[in-house]
Subunit: 251 residues, 5 copies
């Protein structure tokens, strides 16, 4: 579980709840079923209209990904691990690490290094794993864009709901005492739209984008490591090149 992420998400909604409590008119004034239907329903139907069935099916999984740690090692750990494998393979051959590679948790790492065990040529490892990375990134970008699109749609549906409410109110001004509450209800859809945009879609979009960047960097280092090992580069060279990825001291 990615606790910072989940904490940030839950904390955002807790703060909004707190703001409502402090507002002093109670939660009841902020709940209006028709408004819920138009904003949440509209965000769902418009997204259904915009995306292919195969992408929509990934929605739940993508939400899960946002709150789970990415299945990659931190850069220093990853570099250390690659150097460990490079040293082992140099000393005892690829068969000596086969078992250990098959037990790796990071699937991209496992697949890249399994190619090493199969004595795949370095340029083939690079081509295959780069292809995999490129298609993986395209799938991720479609999902990231979907959350961005949901945020925009929720805002637009919120505005549409407010306009529908305002027209209803203005068309029927005979009872002045009803203007305030009617206006309050009309504004609820705008509020809901902003909440979905900021507290859900905005968090998801940026979070998945950041996780994608993390994965991309880790996978590129993994490919570079596997290619260098397959090319038979010296341990010294491999160490020097991988360590160049780390920040300079005080930089």
């Amino acid at each position: 579980m990615d606790k910072t992420s989940l904490g940030g998400f839950a904390g955002t909604w807790a703060l909004v709840a707190l703001a409502i409590v402090l507002g002093g008119v109670g939660f009841g004034a902020y709940i209006d079923i028709p408004s819920v239907v138009i904003v949440f329903g509209g965000a769902i139907t418009v997204t259904m209209g915009q995306y292919e069935g195969q992408d929509l099916k990934q929605f739940g999984k993508a939400c899960g990904v946002a709150f789970k740690p990415v299945p990659v090692e931190s850069t220093p750990e990853l570099i250390e691990k690659i150097i460990f494998y490079a040293t082992e393979i140099k000393k005892n051959g690829v068969m000596a690490v086969e078992q250990k590679i098959m037990e790796e948790k990071n699937p991209f790492f496992k697949e890249s290094f399994a190619l090493l065990v199969d004595n795949t040529k370095p340029d083939v490892i690079e081509a295959l794993m780069e292809t995999k990375l490129e298609h993986m990134e395209n799938r991720h970008k479609t999902m990231i864009a979907m959350f961005g699109s949901i945020g925009g749609t929720a805002g637009a549906m919120g505005m549409i709901g407010t306009l529908v409410g305002l027209v209803a109110m203005l068309a029927n001004l005979s009872d002045p005492s009803a203007v305030g509450p009617a206006m309050a209800v009309a504004l609820l859809t705008t509020l809901y739209g902003a909440l979905v945009g900021t507290g859900f879609a905005g968090i998801m979009e940026t979070k998945l984008g950041n996780k994608n960047s993390l994965e991309l960097t880790a996978h590129q280092i993994t490919i570079q490591g596997a290619v260098m090992i397959a090319s038979g580069e010296s341990i010294g060279n491999i160490k020097m090149k991988l360590n160049a990825i780390l920040p300079v001291v005080a930089g």
Copy 2:
């Protein structure tokens, strides 16, 4: 028929209708012919002014494309099909599959593999089909941009309509009881503009963009497959390279 897409589209408008019904003042308050004319008419005339006749003629076809499944196989099916043809051609020669290729439904696949049957050289297949893909994408992008432009124009015409209505109302404030209804009517153009932007143009633009991406990926895999077969690569190599496109397990 792309049911998710059509369902999302129809559902969006049903929700707006529901919101109006729940608003309690009836549909009549939301219909104003001059407002319809300025927003829908204006979106049409501005688009006519912006686009070339040959692009405008594609409008109806593009709307249809958004609600039809893309004429391409899913990535795993496509890869399986290419491997099938590669194996058949390796075993029995290109003439053995000619009839089957001529019956393919996906026109880009059919054209790419027809070049194989004609013994076209791999680099010529690549050059010809990449050219076709590039020009196809340019045509798609013009249409996608047109829907984006329609959405923006509808919003702008909505604002213009509201300003025209507000000026009329303000210039004639003598009857206070008319202010509410006049204001309601003035807001209708903004509402119409937002509805066209979100519930029509926004769905179309994103949908066509997603379908274009799907097609692009499929066509690039098709070209890669045809080129590998024409180059006489081994079935093992072709399988390995195409399977690299699929996600890693648990990735």
Copy 3:
């Protein structure tokens, strides 16, 4: 005359006029000379401040271009014409078509093929005509950006005008009956700004962008054709390569 374009432009303004008539307070309420001065004048003076004299002088010409058909053939016609010249030159030599080339209406085509008549080497034709195309596109992009900038400026001047009007109204609230008309006048600059942005600059910017894309595609095909002819490629090859530009059947 590009009738769709002109019709769209004229239709947009006719619809706005219609909306005003249907608003019921007459055209007089929508005309205010100081508002005209600040929005139209401001859009002109800001643009004068932003652009170089040599670009400003192209303004009228660019407006004309938007309403005239682009001086290029449709893609199928252009391909047919190139194949015609390729065949003629193959059969009878370049001198046989010199007269016909000199009579071509499309100046870019004429200049490209005139180089053929002069026996210019294919790589020189490509370099010269690509240079010409690149500088032509830069000039077009400056003009397209100018219309975008005019639209943004008109909107900003409209907002400035409304703020000037609101301050005047608020500073002088003693006569309540004057508030409505004063507010109406203040809103006119926003309306003018939106009209210039949508009904003039927005149409021009998109139209010129589309015409530029059309020309660019046609000129690139022209260069490709001239280069293939100059390289002495076979008619079969030229046909195959040019036809790859056209859409696949049902694609």
Copy 4:
């Protein structure tokens, strides 16, 4: 002095002054020292916080550049001049033009052609002058971005000032007759922000961007010319290549 530019700038502010005069409440209603302080002061302090000292020192110079003609020849003049030097050098050698080159006004041209006089190799001329051009463009882009940033900041400070004013007014509604004037003053910061954004920063940003493009094109042509002369290309070739930069007749 770039008269169009200065005229546009001065004209914009004259039009705003005219709009105020026509508003009928006098200049006094539009001047509020605290509003001036927050918008202009805020734009200055935020920019100080955003930019490095060395960039801030260029501010005055950049303002000057916007109103001076760029120190480059028009494209046809520049081409003519390059052809003149190419011909002279071909006939009489580089020493014959040394004096004339040293008297050139355009410093980039002078430096490029001085390298010719020193018999610098063509690829060295290209590398050195391209480096200089690249770093020059980076410096220009920083300044252009600074004006864009000033415009955005002025708008934001205007909104902040208006909110500060609205809160003051609303917190103290006891005297209804003060509402109008207080609101008018609150709106002044928004007006000032929009004026700075449109009438100053927006003009400067676009103007400097256009001047940068002009210079870039001229300098690239200059480098191309110097390289061709240094490579000993024939006058015919140089003429043909440079003339390709000019528009086609009727294109």
Copy 5:
């Protein structure tokens, strides 16, 4: 300490304080604890939800970086220093400067030139230091984007807070005298959001972006210098190439 930067930052907040004082209703009217909680708290929780723990930990350090001078020399100083080392190494060998390089303050410069001392080949120096630069820039860009995201989130939370306040006020219109103050409080969150966006996040984002550009340019020059020295280029060549980076006189 980067005094301009800190001065700009402090000055911005001083101006806002001044505007409040001049508003005449006292600081009390501008402080509302629930509003502080929703805007500042919300900006924190949303950012926690959006970014990885390892990036959030860099927040304090990034704030510090914005107010400290970048640890790189100005371009002329850097060029002079590289030429100094080039000359020393040419005359007395790399060992003669080893001590001095180890005492360099700029860590990127120190690391690049330490490779020279180790007799690293020029292409290896380039590859290693370019890798380091690329990963450094990626880390910087994540932090720069985080500040941009904080600004946007603060604005959105400000709007959400205002909507929550407006709904509370409208739902409870029975006491007209409470409307003004309630509205004032509701606007405070929008004001806070704008202040965080402009006076904190906006300054930080642009400042860090400018510092990153400065560093990038300096580090690229450092790499170029180290590579030229390692390649054994003549002092004359090194000087000529580095000086090409400086502006032309009067350019």
